[in-house]
């Protein structure tokens, strides 16, 4: 059980042991940024930072699994999280918040997190991942 | 038919029939005449439009006195109130292309007047304007005027009448980088099967989603002993000696400079910035903020690095074409390698 959950979803915070939670009092983007900071400092990125549907990208809540200890920096994971932040901004430009759906998003986010945790536990991976994705876009500031 | 639309035409000193390279520093002027390609352009409009006047400016003046040039140009255009502004064609001329691109982009952005230009696809000026301006694709030399001008005229008539343009290949302009969703006559899976068959039979095919190409260079091996290494300072931050003796451009650099800093303890006091891409105040105060010679000299004194290389290399990064950047890198790299330099601090902005 060596994972932590970076999340801004209050219902996730209530459902899991506080030792495993890094709670962010902020937005989806703030969660991504915290994950980025952790990955830069060598914490393993377990989950993909972005979801798999455009709808969930518009969710105000996001929960992402990261590892517990600090290990060597993993360049590929750094690229993934940095790129995810850029993609997130492109997709959500000009979209307004939908406070009336906040609860529903919280529920789905929690369920997706449950599935992620299940997948992680099924895998029993002790060491950090050697994930190599595609080649990521250079950051154009 | 309604009144012919009014075109204002912009050319440089050469196409403006003032002179060649020696006249590249002339200030902008405006004449209510059709100078250079403007005359031929008007003829090709077949009566639908007229060129009411020509703006001429020296390429060097435009690049080195950008603000003043623009003041004149924009004031002129505001007074003339044309329906369309045409710049170039610049073919592959870099400084001319930069001017054509910047002017067209600014006119369209700030005055809302449609603009049109013409360039060779590798002209560095393309990047300054392609997403906002229609740029006709031309050959790389002025010999291509015969083909460029008719295409520009044809598109000009459409732009002035507010007609929609067709696809870039059909109309003859350089794609602006806009990916537009349209309907195909075949469904996606059919197109995929046909693409796969083409690949399996070694036939030509065209991808619908080109992947960006990255130029990956393998890093050199790490320096084993920094205290014995010679480190050079190179920057694309546009830091040059006072007066910019080598006339390095503020944007779209065509050259790099090399200056002896063996005796200097810092760049401050003798260097400033000519980079057109950032607010210069702090860099002018202390150019070492951009190219940290002061710190390098300190590290040298402390023995952390062996030696700071005698020469400092500089150029401007903003708007500089990839092709030129690769050329500069190769040239500077060759000099540094020949001089036995072990490592480089390369700063950019």
């Amino acid at each position: 059980m060596s994972y932590r959950i970076v999340t801004n979803n209050p219902s996730v915070r209530e459902s899991y042991n506080s030792n495993n939670i890094i709670f962010i009092d902020g937005s989806y983007e703030d969660v991504l940024i915290k994950v980025r900071d952790l990955v830069h400092s060598g914490v393993e990125l377990i989950d993909s930072p972005l979801g798999a549907s455009i709808r969930m990208l518009l969710s105000p809540y996001r929960s992402i699994l990261v590892g517990t200890e600090r290990q060597a920096m993993n360049m590929d994971q750094i690229l993934i999280i940095e790129q995810s932040i850029l993609n997130y901004r492109t997709l959500t430009q000009r979209r307004k918040a939908e406070p009336e759906h906040a609860n529903d998003y919280a529920v789905v986010d929690k369920e997706l997190l449950k599935a992620s945790i299940q997948a992680y536990e099924d895998m029993n991976c002790p060491t950090h991942s050697k994930f190599t994705g595609g080649e990521f876009l250079e950051t154009r500031a | 038919m309604s009144n012919p639309f009014k075109v204002l035409y912009y050319v440089n000193q050469f196409f403006g029939q003032v002179g060649g390279e020696e006249k590249a520093g002339i200030e902008p002027f405006y004449k209510e005449e059709k100078i250079g390609p403007a005359a031929g352009f008007e003829a090709l409009l077949e009566g639908e439009g007229t060129v009411v006047g020509t703006l001429v400016c020296g390429d060097n003046y435009f690049n080195e006195h950008n603000k003043e040039a623009f003041t004149f140009i924009m004031d002129t255009i505001k007074a003339v109130k044309p329906d369309l502004v045409v710049t170039g064609p610049a073919f592959n001329a870099g400084r001319y292309g930069m001017a054509c691109g910047e002017i067209a982009a600014k006119v369209t952005e700030e005055l809302g007047i449609p603009t049109l230009s013409g360039m060779y696809k590798e002209n560095p000026g393309l990047d300054t304007c392609v997403s906002k301006v229609i740029v006709v694709s031309t050959p790389d030399s002025a010999a291509g005027m015969r083909t460029a001008l008719p295409t520009m005229a044809k598109i000009a008539r459409k732009l002035a009448k507010g007609e929609e343009l067709g696809a870039p290949e059909a109309e003859g302009y350089i794609p602006q980088g806009r990916r537009l969703t349209v309907f195909s006559d075949k469904r996606g899976s059919k197109r995929a099967v046909e693409m796969l068959l083409a690949r399996l039979n070694d036939q030509a095919f065209e991808t619908e989603l080109p992947m960006p190409q990255f130029d990956r260079v393998d890093p050199a091996a790490a320096i084993k002993d920094l205290s014995k290494a010679t480190i050079a300072l190179v920057t694309s931050g546009g830091i040059v000696p006072f007066g910019n003796p080598d006339r390095i451009q503020s944007a779209s650099a065509q050259k790099w400079g090399k200056y002896n800093i063996a005796a200097a303890a810092a760049l401050k006091g003798a260097y400033y910035t000519i980079h057109g891409g950032y607010d210069p105040v702090y860099a002018n105060e202390t150019p070492d903020r951009v190219a940290p010679l002061d710190v390098m000299k300190t590290l040298e004194k402390e023995g952390v690095i062996g030696k700071v290389y005698d020469y400092f290399y500089t150029t401007t990064g903003t708007g500089t074409a990839v092709g030129n950047s690769m050329k500069f890198g190769t040239e500077i790299g060759a000099e540094l390698k020949a001089a036995g330099v072990d490592g480089v601090i390369l700063t950019s902005t």
Partner: protein, 428 residues
């Protein structure tokens, strides 16, 4: 395996006394249908409406679309493993109500989109504007847990398709399509010189509202799996995907998977079509690593010369798509990818969430952020609130005359990544 899809052309759909097809007109006994679906005690109420092509009708939010069919010869009733006993699919004779679709609505969560316009601008962007739609609104009992709610709606939709499919049992088909293939050894002996081609179908497999099922098995739990194309055409794969309107593979699109159909059409002529590999799109990075390696290995083991890879969803699945591509190309297997893109409102942003230089042959199904204007509808089947979700996304999207500007990602099937629809992207 030999599967005969006997297409009965549906020209109209009406409510009537009987469940039958007569002269191309599908008649549905509404009470009978409702009674059947109400047998599930989790269902509180069922509403059934009809929507025909050309009517100024809007259906929103659409959960799934299913083709009504009935197997008249061979094993398999309904959807084996889900609504019926487990039997292997892919053989037999099936009567298909061609041109009709069961469309389920009823949001499990309030933010679901998924619009089908039966006329006008919106109709161009969805394939379901051309089908005669039997719209089934499933209202569950109160207090159901989200997973159970989703399952209830899913099963009800499948059952509705089964019940309505029965209407076609005795009708004569307009035309018959035969899908027949021997085993690999037999086919390769018949066509020794044809290039071997596999189809890798990626399925979203990430949890609630983002699921897929193969013979009822949730795809989150599987390793990449070889399946016979006939099985998918016969209903072995169904959708549990409720949110990615534009690029989710509806059950209808599994039953009529265009990539499978187009590859099958070439089998024995220009290619030796070896079959389909179903690949789950997982959330964890290690999971992706495992899945993509395994998929590439299956393709290599089977001696494929070329592979078409399709995606479902946008975001993290882009990585899987490109990882599979990279591995296949490195093994000397030629790939073509089908995906949608997100180039922003103006089409100027970088289109994919990930890139790889090996992806030299890509079919783009469209820009999910492309803005379309939907005219005001005369009738809305479903939730008017869902329209405000569609429209409420950003400023100025709902105009005074009632027309809505929405992104393509809210339209069902618009940017289908199995290439079902005919959108593409051109550089301007």
């Amino acid at each position: 395996m030999k599967l005969e899809l006997r297409k009965i052309q549906i020209k109209d759909v009406v409510f009537g006394e009987k469940m039958e097809v007569n002269g191309g007109v599908l008649s549905i006994n509404k009470d009978q249908l409702v009674a059947k679906l109400m047998e599930d005690h989790r269902v509180k109420e069922i509403k059934v409406d009809l929507a025909k092509p050309g009517e100024k009708t809007r259906i929103i939010p659409v959960k799934d679309c299913i083709e009504p069919r009935v197997k008249i010869e061979g094993e398999g009733k309904g959807f084996p493993g889900v609504t019926g006993k487990m039997v292997p699919l892919g053989d037999g004779k099936v009567n298909v109500l061609d041109g009709a679709a069961v469309v389920t609505i009823g949001d499990i969560v309030g933010f679901q989109e998924g619009v089908v316009d039966m006329w006008g601008e919106g109709a161009k962007w969805t394939p379901f504007s051309k089908t005669f739609n039997i719209v089934v609104d499933i209202i569950p009992v109160e207090g159901l847990e989200p997973h159970v709610h989703e399952e209830t709606v899913r099963i009800a939709g499948l059952k509705a398709a089964e019940v309505i499919g029965e209407a076609g049992r005795y009708a004569e088909p307009t035309h018959v399509e035969v899908f027949e293939m021997g085993n690999h050894a037999e086919e390769s002996a018949k066509y020794p010189n044809l290039p071997k081609v596999l189809y890798v179908e990626m399925l979203i497999s990430q949890g609630l509202l983002h699921d897929g099922y193969i013979y009822g098995v949730n795809s989150q739990k599987i390793l990449p799996t070889l399946i016979h194309p006939n099985e998918e055409l016969d209903g072995a794969v169904i959708s549990g995907n409720c949110v990615a309107a534009c690029d989710k593979i509806t059950t209808y699109q599994h039953q009529n998977n265009s990539a499978i159909l187009d590859l099958y059409a070439e089998h024995g002529k220009t290619i030796n079509f070896l079959g389909v590999i179903l690949t789950p799109e997982l959330t964890t990075l290690e999971g992706k690593f495992r899945t993509c390696d395994y998929t590439a290995k299956l393709c290599t083991m089977m001696g494929a010369d070329g592979v078409i890879v399709s995606e479902e969803g946008y975001g993290n699945p882009d990585s899987d798509l490109l990882m599979i591509c990279k591995r296949l190309e490195k093994n000397g297997i030629k790939t073509v990818l089908i995906t949608d893109e997100c180039s922003g409102w103006d089409g100027m942003s970088q289109p994919l969430a990930d890139t790889t230089k090996e992806a030299v042959a890509v079919v783009s199904a469209g820009n999910v952020s492309h803005v379309v204007t939907l005219e005001p509808a005369d009738r809305v089947i479903g939730s008017a609130k869902a329209i405000s979700t569609l429209a409420g996304g950003w400023d100025g999207s709902l105009s005074e005359d009632g027309s809505i500007k929405c992104e393509l990602n809210a339209v069902i099937g618009a940017t289908s990544e199995i290439g079902y629809h005919n959108c593409t992207v051109k550089l301007y």
